[in-house]
């Protein structure tokens, strides 16, 4: 535990705590852009600089650890730095929201009440295209904070994205200039989730007018694999269709991380192949759509006949890990008390 001064107040921090975290605990919000708690401290964008007494220049709060007796100031000339930095970033930031994702830079600009004073003559960067259908990238929305690149390196530990070029020509590209489909990229979309400006976005949302904040959000548990990631299904309020899937850092056990299936494989929910009516096999040997009433009568009669002729033990139930606990509970209750057999199992008995 160390003691330090924050804007004149004497407060404490744990050993090795970053200034940005200690300040937040004491109610002082320091804006950041290149910082993500999942990643190593970086200090690249300088948006979070603070004055540290005795230091020759402002220090990045996201990459500086509190030391005993430090005197930190987050107001005064610092807000001028933040305004200037924001203006500089905006002046080469031509496209605010290519896929409707949140844009922390724009939010910050609104909060600070600044706008781009000029658009730099070389702000336009080379167009970017890729044949994958999941992730789009617009260099004109990118502030080159490298959160995406660092996510691939530090969290996924794969070689998927790189920073390419220098100065005004810089942009993010899949490693070796390959397609996203041909690098080590596992299409998890972690780059997209960490991007502060929405420069990397769900490609299928390209050109959408509707910001992510206009979507309905329902928190639920992912249907793929036993990790049980917590996800937010984002629905179009009009169609009630899932249009994207996101997560949050405070969700357990995944802490905002997702995989390719959890983030992108949701269209099956609204697929035209979905069964929409009960089917019963007719005399002609084919399945025909019918009413629920008829289907349930036929189902009950079919089971009843087997029970009457061969006993309840001749009926088996195979339930599924795709179902909820509540559904599985009722299915075993149905097998045991409705039919009279303990033969209830699943293809996932291991």
């Amino acid at each position: 535990m160390v003691e330090f001064t924050l804007d004149g107040r004497t407060v404490t921090a744990s050993d090795g705590e970053l200034i940005v975290h200690a300040a937040a605990r004491h109610g002082t919000f320091i804006p950041t852009l290149c910082h993500d708690d999942k990643l190593d401290p970086y200090g690249g964008c300088r948006m979070c600089v603070v004055d540290v007494e005795g230091a020759p220049r402002p220090m990045p709060a996201c990459a500086t650890r509190v030391a005993e007796g430090m005197a930190i100031s987050t107001n005064g000339q610092i807000t001028d730095y933040q305004r200037t930095l924001t203006e500089m970033l905006l002046s080469e930031h031509l496209n605010a929201s290519p896929g409707g994702r949140p844009n922390e830079l724009r939010d910050l600009a609104t909060e600070l009440g600044v706008d781009a004073p000029v658009i730099l003559p070389d702000a336009k960067r080379e167009e970017y295209d890729d044949r994958n259908q999941l992730m789009g990238y617009d260099p004109d929305a990118c502030i080159l904070c490298a959160r995406c690149v660092r996510y691939t390196q530090e969290v996924m530990q794969c070689s998927a994205l790189s920073l390419e070029g220098r100065g005004g020509h810089s942009r993010i590209v899949p490693t070796w200039g390959l397609s996203w489909l041909d690098t080590e990229c596992e299409l998890c979309g972690g780059c997209l989730s960490t991007c502060p400006t929405g420069a990397i976005y769900e490609k299928f949302e390209e050109g959408t007018e509707r910001p992510e904040s206009a979507l309905e959000e329902v928190r639920t548990t992912c249907t793929y694999c036993g990790v049980g990631c917590q996800i937010d299904l984002k629905l179009d309020p009009g169609t009630k269709h899932i249009v994207k899937v996101t997560s949050k850092d405070e969700y357990l056990p995944n802490e905002g991380n997702l995989c390719v299936k959890g983030r992108f494989a949701f269209n099956f929910v609204h697929h035209p192949d979905r069964l929409t009516r009960p089917l019963v096999r007719g005399e002609d040997g084919e399945l025909h759509p019918t009413t629920w009433e008829h289907a349930l009568e036929t189902a009950a009669a079919g089971l009843r006949k087997v029970i009457d002729e061969h006993g309840p033990q001749a009926v088996g139930f195979l339930s599924s890990a795709r179902l909820t606990n509540e559904e599985n509970y009722l299915i075993q209750k149905l097998a045991r008390t409705g039919v009279g057999t303990n033969s209830v199992h699943s293809c996932e008995s291991t």
Binding site: Q133, C225, G228, V260, F264, L287, L296, L318, T337
Partner: protein, 534 residues
């Protein structure tokens, strides 16, 4: 040990100092959990991977024990041999918390690392080093998946792992333990909920008359005494007439079960087949008598339980398509049609409350407590915080955790001159089981669509096969065609294929002789031959 679940929790993984991953292709089957393993290694932990294939995690591993499929018992017994030979066991833990240690000691003394090398292909020195590292690190955790269980000796494999854990006392505290990574979203929960022939909800044994009476009274209907059939027994029952009607709920055993052609034949013999699903697939369209349109996860309320026993909420977000109903509603309608007199269940929560009232380890777990993050069972009373790791302060099994001496058993089917290659099966990152969901996602099929199998460059070139060629795989049960993928992950003599491809089902090839105790199929070892497609 006394619990059918992972001992420890996902967030603890990153603080483990030694991780032994055996029979788990974690980055593909549990990608987000694997991030914790990656983080642990980045934090300086040692990772050792035991797997017949050079899976992605071997890139981060200090050591890859590339054992021959099905030789896990040899490897593990030899590790225990080293631990006992060098006196690295935890005598105090063994004395205070376990029974029958001597039986294991006696057996593993015959399993020397040098002999193990001959059987497993893993160098004796690598076995010794791994045993030492595991035994001497307090925060040493084991992770396994279906590479351990999907064998005719699957139970033996789990017992071996359990022996190793107990011998070293690596149980009952943080960042350690024996962790079964559950493959599917709610495998843990479906067993917890009693969709199991041996157990009523909450692992209460059906063969216990007291427990049967408890449930019969609560339900107002008699719980049958006759033991139920397991999955494998139901499958064989299709052929010998024991099983005449089947209710399939979101399942396609003609793809996911071994010797799938034979399964489909059996399904064709049924007097009555009822399917409740979100899609029609080839098997139900051919054989089902009634098909009921059901719900996806996004259209219903309830809970899923993940691999670390965490019960989390599932919430209805989207409307059901057409006349489809939630599975819960369908089961209630079916129950009424069959003449049951159940109480009203106005919602999923009312069903959960009935389960929690009857299952002591779930009693304190109610919806109002899992509005945000889920809670891990056991939660024996209201207000109980949940259980981050099991077997603390001592193993759950009354009387102490039991050592089970295990001898090596050869696989059911081994390669011969006619079928010279070992076929192992599994999952990939991009698809999920029978892939009815993921094959409908074009952004994903772009990455992986055609059926393929992994084969070593040596084996492929001997057969005149190149990357991307179509080849035929044949076993004693069936044949299929898939694209050649030359892979350094498999060694000469081993081929591997995923189960996701509906058009070319790898389970046409696998055999259906499973574990004698629990019937788990030996998906990981079948003998096959590969031929070029003319």
């Amino acid at each position: 040990m006394g619990r059918g679940a992972s001992s420890n929790s996902i967030p603890e993984i990153e603080n483990a100092r030694f991780l032994f991953v055996i029979g788990s292709n974690t980055t593909e089957a549990h990608p987000v959990l694997a991030l914790r393993i990656k983080k642990a290694v980045r934090n300086g932990a040692t990772l050792v991977v035991a797997d017949p294939r050079a899976i992605w995690l071997t890139k981060l591993a200090k050591r890859h024990l590339q054992l021959r499929p099905g030789t896990d018992v040899w490897l593990l017994n030899a590790m225990m041999h080293v631990i006992l030979e060098e006196g690295l066991q935890d005598d105090e833990y063994i004395r205070a918390n376990t029974v029958d240690f001597d039986a294991v000691r006696e057996i593993v003394m015959r399993y020397t690392p040098e002999d193990a090398e001959k059987v497993t292909g893993v160098p004796a020195e690598a076995i010794r080093a791994t045993a030492r590292e595991y035994a001497t690190e307090r925060h040493a955790a084991i992770f396994y998946t279906l590479g351990i269980t999907e064998h005719a000796c699957g139970v033996d494999n789990i017992w071996s792992l359990s022996n190793l854990v107990l011998m070293t006392g690596h149980l009952g505290y943080e960042s350690t333990g024996l962790n079964a990574l559950r493959g599917q979203n709610n495998v843990q929960g479906l067993n917890d909920s009693g969709a199991n022939p041996m157990y009523l909800p909450g692992y209460q044994a059906v063969d216990d008359p007291e427990l049967r009476r408890k449930f019969s009274e609560a339900w107002g209907a008699e719980v049958p005494e006759t033991p139920g059939y397991r999955l494998d027994q139901m499958m064989s029952g299709l052929h010998d007439g024991r099983v005449r009607a089947l209710v399939l709920i979101g399942e396609n055993p003609a793809q996911t079960e071994p010797n799938a052609r034979h399964v489909e034949e059996g399904l064709g013999k049924l007097d009555f087949l009822l399917s409740q699903d979100i899609f029609l697939h080839d098997m139900t369209s051919k054989h089902a008598h009634v098909v009921l349109p059901a719900s996806s996860f996004a259209e219903k309320d309830g809970t899923f339980t993940n691999t670390e026993r965490r019960v989390s909420r599932v919430r209805r977000a989207a409307p059901l398509p057409g006349e489809a109903k939630t599975d819960l509603e369908i089961v209630l309608l079916l129950a009424r049609a069959l003449g049951t007199h159940w109480p009203e269940y106005p919602d999923a929560e009312s069903v959960w409350n009935e389960l929690a009232d009857l299952a002591p380890a779930w009693y304190g777990l109610r919806y109002d407590r899992i509005e945000e993050n889920g809670i891990q069972w056991p939660v024996p009373e209201l207000g109980h915080p949940g259980t981050q790791f099991l077997h603390a302060p001592r193993p759950a099994r009354p009387g102490g955790a039991k050592f089970y001496p295990v001898e090596y058993q050869r696989p059911i089917e081994e390669p011969d001159s006619e079928y010279p290659l070992v076929l192992s099966t599994g999952r990939t990152l991009y698809h999920y089981n029978s892939a009815t969901m993921t094959m409908r996602e074009s952004g994903i099929t772009e990455k992986q669509e055609d059926p393929f199998f992994e084969i070593s460059a040596e084996d492929a070139s001997a057969l005149g096969l190149a990357e991307g060629d179509w080849a035929r795989l044949l076993s004693r049960r069936g044949a299929l065609e898939a694209r050649v993928h030359l892979s350094e992950r498999v060694y000469p003599g081993l081929v591997w294929m995923a189960l996701h491809f509906a058009e070319q089902k790898v389970n046409w090839l696998t055999h259906d002789v499973g574990d004698p105790l629990i019937g788990t199929p030996e998906f990981k070892i079948s003998a096959v031959r590969v031929e070029p497609v003319a």
